[in-house]
């Protein structure tokens, strides 16, 4: 196997004008976050007793989890069915998943009224609650993601622990610990990789079970007993588009060359999954007869049509075309559409479809809610940039041209 690339830190300056904008957005979000902590949820959000959940759940949590699906879908592809050619994209995808879930966890903690009780589900269980299953799986998966990422950290520091002053006596033992960790990890990593995939399928679908209990409070265009399946399928279908999207974006912003041949191959795998998702979505609508609601003209029907047409059908057609797969801009657009579709689907399920029997008016997110969501996304991008600049995540052309597979294919090597 010829591997002429090797994961290594990207040597670039952290600050650029774009980064500066992100910092401002992040600070703005943090300011509103402080408001929420000091004055309560009511002070910065438009949530009320009619609409208990808003975009912090719909976007930050539900869409966040779905869009971090690139982590487990590429892990399955590369490690479980051993498609070796995808190894270059596995670390960036893993990093996105890890950061994505970290921010999901943060978003949950600030959305719940008693953030200091976030650990309660660990010891207080309700096996009947879909939210409990989501919570437990997300916590465990987050731990698994950190473990999966550890080799990147050990690789960065092994033989490079050079602390100064009195700490220098710690350098040797620390290095030894890292080496032991590294060895143990590469032997046991397969356990965590499979566990990660299993946990992902579980909570991606349980996330769909969440709204089922709301029954008639949810618009019939979305309320269906097959929601868990739809959620799982859509999460899987957004996995590779998300990887394509971030690869193209990251390579652009870091001045690297996007690996178009790998990305086109990934793109080729999208239509079957997206097609199955579409089939289930339409099939479910036909079986339940819910298409009658499409004849009404209102927010729900319009949002549904946008979601299915631009988020599923158009990109499905695009991914089927050879010309799109070969062209970077078109592949990018098609991926963005799938991402948009899943994002909109989660917003629709958790926010648009929710119609409480008694309400004083519709819910629309407040400036504070939007600021915090945008702030979190900015922080995520900043963290991503910081990590790829300092840790061996991105695959760069290897100067020595010696395949260093020890670190590239960790954990699955014999």
């Amino acid at each position: 196997m010829e591997h002429f690339t090797k994961p290594s830190p990207v040597y670039k300056k952290f600050f650029t004008p774009g980064v500066f904008v992100l910092v401002i957005l992040a600070l703005n979000g943090l300011a509103f976050l402080a408001g929420r902590l000091i004055f309560g949820i009511g002070a910065v959000t438009n949530l009320n007793n009619q609409y208990p959940w808003g975009i912090w759940i719909g976007i930050d949590v539900a869409a966040g989890v779905a869009l971090a699906a690139g982590g487990f879908t590429t892990a399955a592809l590369s490690h479980v069915i051993h498609k070796e050619q995808y190894h270059d994209i596995i670390r960036p995808a893993l990093l996105t998943a890890m950061l994505g879930y970290t921010f999901v966890a943060l978003a949950v903690s600030i959305d719940i009224g008693r953030w200091y009780y976030i650990w309660h589900p660990l010891i207080m269980w309700n096996g009947n609650s879909a939210l409990f299953e989501v919570g437990i799986c997300v916590i465990m998966y987050l731990a698994v993601l950190y473990i999966e990422f550890l080799p990147v950290v050990t690789e960065r520091f092994i033989g490079k622990v050079r602390m100064k002053g009195i700490f220098s006596i710690l350098n040797k033992p620390l290095d030894a610990i890292l080496r032991i960790l590294d060895k143990g990890l590469s032997k046991t990593m397969f356990i965590f990789i499979i566990l990660g995939v299993v946990l992902s399928t579980l909570h991606q679908s349980s996330l769909g079970t969440l709204m089922i209990i709301a029954g008639p409070k949810m618009h019939p265009l979305w309320q269906t007993p097959v929601l868990p399946l739809l959620f799982l399928l859509s999460a899987i279908s957004v996995g590779y588009p998300m990887v394509i999207f971030e690869s193209i974006l990251a390579s652009r912003s870091l001045g690297l060359k996007a690996e178009m041949n790998v990305l086109s191959e990934l793109g080729r795998m999208v239509p079957p999954i997206l097609g199955i998702y579409l089939a289930f979505k339409i099939g479910d609508m036909v079986i339940r007869g819910s298409f009658v609601y499409l004849t009404e003209f209102n927010t729900a029907s319009v949002m549904f049509v946008i979601e299915v047409l631009f988020g599923v059908i158009v990109p499905l057609r695009m991914f089927l075309s050879e010309a799109v797969l070969k062209s970077k801009p078109l592949l990018f657009v098609a991926s963005v559409l799938v991402i948009f579709g899943v994002l909109l689907n989660r917003i629709n399920n958790f926010v648009v479809a929710y119609t409480p029997p008694y309400s004083y008016g519709p819910y629309f997110p407040s400036i504070g809610e939007i600021s915090v969501t945008v702030g979190f996304i900015s922080l995520l991008v900043l963290a991503y940039r910081f990590i790829v600049l300092n840790f061996p995540v991105m695959s760069l052309p290897d100067k020595s041209s010696v395949p260093q597979s020890k670190f590239a294919i960790r954990g699955t090597q014999k």
Binding site: H79, I118, N128
Partner: protein
């Protein structure tokens, strides 16, 4: 037996978490208390008798140490111009609707938690902070609640309310069926203070008989339906009225218990952890086979 398996698996998985946080799992149980006792109590609300004096609102606040204005102020009927909903500081409210039989005598409807027989809130709560007690009341535990508001999403009657403006220890607030009073043998405060006996407290089974009796005796006066007998699988609080309940802004959640669908899906996916374990084994197998196949290269 099967239950046992699932539970013990949950125990093992959570032990990992517990070990990490250093907390014992002894007190943890996998399900919240959810008792459906034969002798559970209930209240029959006869809206044809209610005069809209709102004494119940006042009594409820007083019994729960919620600051309130003098009882005399409650005579002001202008509040009925707007529909009101239960709030953190009003566990029960009375709304007024036109009466088609006699426009001079509007229909007044007291609302509060229905204390469902199969409460969606109990099934939904992530930490099992809500429980259904032996006497029928559905109550909330401040020591467990994390404030996620999933109970509010789940409740078909849109009852639980939340202190959005409290930064620390915001609570889920709703009627607790005066459990502190009934434990001592007292009547719920609202029932006790109703001057016209529009509210009857008693064993739910008896109340259904009583309600049927009333409908039979005065078929012209009552709309032939006991709201709450079957709604959402049955509720402890039940209503009689002189007109269709949908005209009085009662929701129609259907007759099936709300948690039914979600719980069976939930347990289907997890089914005593066989499917996840199977998936794990399957993926492990595929991983092993494909690796073998790649090796000879």
């Amino acid at each position: 037996m099967e239950k046992q398996n699932r539970r013990s698996f949950l125990k093992t998985t959570a032990l990992i978490g517990a070990a990490a946080t250093g907390i014992s799992t002894k007190s943890a149980s996998a399900k919240p208390k959810n008792i459906l006792s034969e002798d559970r109590m209930g209240v029959l609300v006869d809206t044809t008798v209610c005069i809209g004096c709102r004494n119940c609102e006042w009594a409820c606040k007083t019994a729960h140490n919620i600051p309130t204005e003098d009882q005399i102020k409650y005579e002001d009927r202008s509040v009925f111009k707007q529909m009101r909903r239960p709030e953190p500081n009003a566990f029960t409210v009375v709304n007024e609707y036109p009466n088609p039989q006699n426009s001079a005598l509007p229909t007044d409807v007291k609302i509060q938690c229905m204390h469902c027989d199969h409460p969606a809130c109990v099934s939904a709560c992530i930490v099992g902070a809500i429980s259904k007690e032996e006497n029928g009341s559905v109550i909330w535990d401040t020591k467990k609640c994390i404030g996620c508001r999933y109970c509010m999403v789940a409740c078909p009657f849109q009852i639980p309310s939340f202190d959005y403006n409290k930064p620390m220890n915001p609570e889920i607030r709703k009627c607790d069926f005066c459990i502190e009073r009934t434990k001592k043998g007292l009547l719920p405060a609202c029932v006790k203070n109703c001057p016209v006996e529009a509210l009857t407290y008693g064993p739910r089974n008896e109340l259904i008989k009583e309600a049927r009796e009333r409908i039979k005796r005065y078929p012209d006066k009552y709309f032939n339906h006991i709201y709450g007998e079957t709604e959402a699988g049955g509720t402890s609080w039940m209503y009689l009225a002189n007109q269709d309940f949908s005209k009085l802004a009662f929701p129609s959640p259907g007759d099936k218990p709300m948690p039914g669908a979600s719980e069976s899906i939930q347990h289907g996916i997890f089914a005593y952890f066989v499917p996840p374990a199977f998936l794990y084994a399957l993926l492990g197998g595929i991983m092993w086979i494909t690796k073998k196949r790649n090796e000879p290269e």
